[in-house]
Amino acid sequence: MTRELVVVGHGMVGHRLVAALRDRDTDGTWHVTVLGEEDRPAYDRVALSSYVDGRTEDDLSLGTHDDPLVDVRRATSVVGIDREACEVRIATGETIGYDALVLATGSVPFVPPVPGRDLLGCFVYRTLDDLDAITAAAEAAMARPGPGRRSAVVVGGGLLGLEAARAMRLLGLSPHVVEIAPRLMPVQVDEGGGALLRSLVERQDIAVRCGVSVTGIADDRGRLVAQLSDGVELDADLVVFSAGIRAADGLARATGLAVGERGGVLVDDRCRTADEHVWAVGECAALEGRTYGLVAPGYAMAEVVADRLLGGDARMTPAELDMSTQLKLLGVDVASFGDAHATTEGALPVVINDPVAGTYAKLVVSDDAATLLGGVLVGDASRYAALRPLVGAALPADPVALIAPNGVELGADALPDSAQVCSCNAVTKGALRSAVAEGAHTVGALKACTRAGTSCGSCVPLLKSILVREGVELSTALCEHFAHSRAELFEIVAGAGITTFSELVARHGTGRGCDVCKPVVASILASLGGGHILAGEQAGLQDTNDRFLANMQRDGTYSVVPRVPGGEITPDGLIVIGEVARDFGLYTKITGGQRIDMFGARVEQLPAIWRRLVDAGFESGHAYGKALRTVKSCVGTTWCRFGQQDSVGLAVELELRYRGLRSPHKIKSGVSGCARECAEARSKDFGIIATETGWNLYVGGNGGFTPRHADLLVSDVDTETLVRLVDRFLMFYVRTADRLQRTAPWIEAMEGGLDHLRAVIVDDSLGICADLEAAMAAHVASYTDEWAGVLADDEKLLRFVSFVNAPGTPDPTISFVTERGQPVPAPRTPVLIGIPEVGS
């Protein structure tokens, strides 16, 4: 016989409970009636603030239970519970009987009992209805005539308060956060972290007052005045109370169920109240006397009750009540874990506070400095994933080194088997290792069989490092369409003389390709002399930059960079670029590679712009391609008193020689005329520095994410030898590097490293140098300007249109404003400044 379950509350946890129960109750032993106060389907309250960014109720919806055994009654308030009769009474007077009752009533916002808190213009921040009301009031305030900024006072500087402040700013108001504690986010961060957090928040035009309370709200001719405990009065159009929550335990109290000291329905580790028919989950439950305001413990409670209702014996474990938090709020990383406030007896805090870099890190360790107890990270929480699982475990290194910049980077090695790698789903390193042993050999497989990494995702790097540690070789397959690496595909294409993607994927791959493999194959075909990169089927393989021979910018317009070999340009050349930029209304900026970038060109303008440039003798600079970019130079012996060789002359020669060479990643170069190194050649993939008698050649340098100086390959060689070595170096790189692998990691990954490279391309240890040189000679001989090629071909020109049914109509979403005398993209409204993500 079907039993009746009544769930009071239709929030995230109530929704999860019903989903979990119906998932497992395959025999249909329970019929569920859900009674929800809000007139909406259950929604993702954690992402509530994204509603202000334009996400809709539908976007936030958790989905409906489309199930004959589930009745959801919205806009239904429960007014009483009769535990004797096992029935609940709703506002209409109707009663509903139950065999089991689950209270999932969540919480209510806490509003401090100050006079004036009910005035028009005062709001709480909890539901979509609240946000609708706040938005309407903000719009009315913005529309009100009269001078002055429109402002909002946000009462409470915790997580919710900062989210509310951000929402106020998105709505156009100037927010003022008032926090009674001496710092922001007092629950999660300590004093030092709070101070940094405050300065990072204030930088975003959010005013902050800590250590004061609101003592009253008064009406002042249609606006509000918030009176503070220090005598200050703040004018406001809106006041938002976001000063914490209180468990909604009124129904339980009224029916005589015990509640915790600080509220919440008392439940045991089965989430059951003293009444065997009544359970409580989520924020309204006080588990062992304590309430939890995060969704992850709530979900765990929902799973436990679902299991129990079906006769299981699940219990809440302390790990599931982990209150560790990592989130990004207003673009600021904040994480806290374990005993963040050093409340354990004898606990020692270790702190690195860098106000210049905007980072704060604290580890709390045991009195013998042997065990990690907890920590706080503000500004940079990248070490959270590695540190949090170590709570309670022996410290693998000196605590200072664990949080210092350039300190110890922790991998999975440092963790004991008992450490939780994924705290969202309570998966330990031991469980992951057994899963690997049982055949889960990819991150995807580990996710599927353990659920690790499926919630907040912060542990995914650790999953990878566990796979490597357990001896699983990570697949070198390019993507789901090819089981080969880029270097293997290069061999296949070159060896079999394949000339199209369709042929390659039909013979050696599956499906129709993707944005990973198509550009790789396009690059390989181009390196092997496949003709114009937009010819025939090749055009569809190219990344958008290569497809339109320009660099797409964030608003969908393009930037245009003509080649300026060696950075040497005539006055007439400069004038042409200036005139083109002026005539097409383009923003201009000097690049780091000694040329000029013109921004803001719409796709349909590109041919006309290039017609002018090509007519004046310019050609493509390949700024859009994985190809040679520039060979930067200093003026060398031409002008410089200290120059030892003609660095400009060599730079021009090299840039013209290797222009258009398609490669696994971009290639940059530089030539300096003496050891003073003004061209910064050692930060390039190949850099050349003049000596008294010739040139030194350095390889494997780059700027970017991981800056690296190039290493000396050969010294004091003449120009002819130098060019021959560069030919071999570049062609060897083009043939054997992985997709998007710059020269530095390519050399590092080589067995034998730089010595091996030197053996291959200087001493010809593999006997391939003649072949590499011949391939480069073929490239040099076949080079033609890509833009001239487009302008001479009507079929290719046809693709440079804005709309297939309105070829000349500009994209209406593109608009510019003037900044420092130049056009720049108009800001989009609302401006997205980072949706907060909360994980536990």
């Binding site: 976007d59 129709r512 993707c514």
Partner: protein, 117 residues
């Protein structure tokens, strides 16, 4: 009062103006639509506006497939969208609208709902 929903078919272009495995943008009464012709010859239409970047550029992404589902990758931040139902396969909470397409006499037509009374 009953609302009558009438589907209006807007003529966009000749099907041979769409190149296989490539996209093209179309402007329909102020709304931008991205059209894609797959290898098999099916034409799909989704919104051109990329919700992840706010730029109207999805038609300029790379067309491919993921597990057999035809897709386009945004050229800005590379999120992949299904051409069948507009969901973002990399960020499941994100999606774009899909538009009904038909081909009559070699002309591509897109459905635009028109609610009258």
């Amino acid at each position: 009062m009953t609302a009558v929903v009438v589907t209006v078919w807007t003529l966009v272009c000749r099907v041979d103006q769409l190149e296989p495995e490539r996209g093209a943008a179309a402007l329909l009464d102020g709304r931008q639509v991205a059209l894609f012709r797959t290898h098999e010859g099916t034409v799909h239409a989704i919104d051109n506006l990329d919700p992840c970047s706010g730029a109207a550029v999805l038609s300029r992404g790379i067309v491919g497939d993921r597990g057999g589902v035809p897709t386009v990758a945004s050229p800005v931040y590379k999120q992949v969208f299904s051409l069948l139902d507009g969901t973002c396969l990399d960020e499941p909470e994100v999606r774009v609208d899909v538009h009904e397409v038909r081909i009559r006499d070699g002309i591509v037509e897109i459905a635009t709902p028109w609610a009258g009374r």
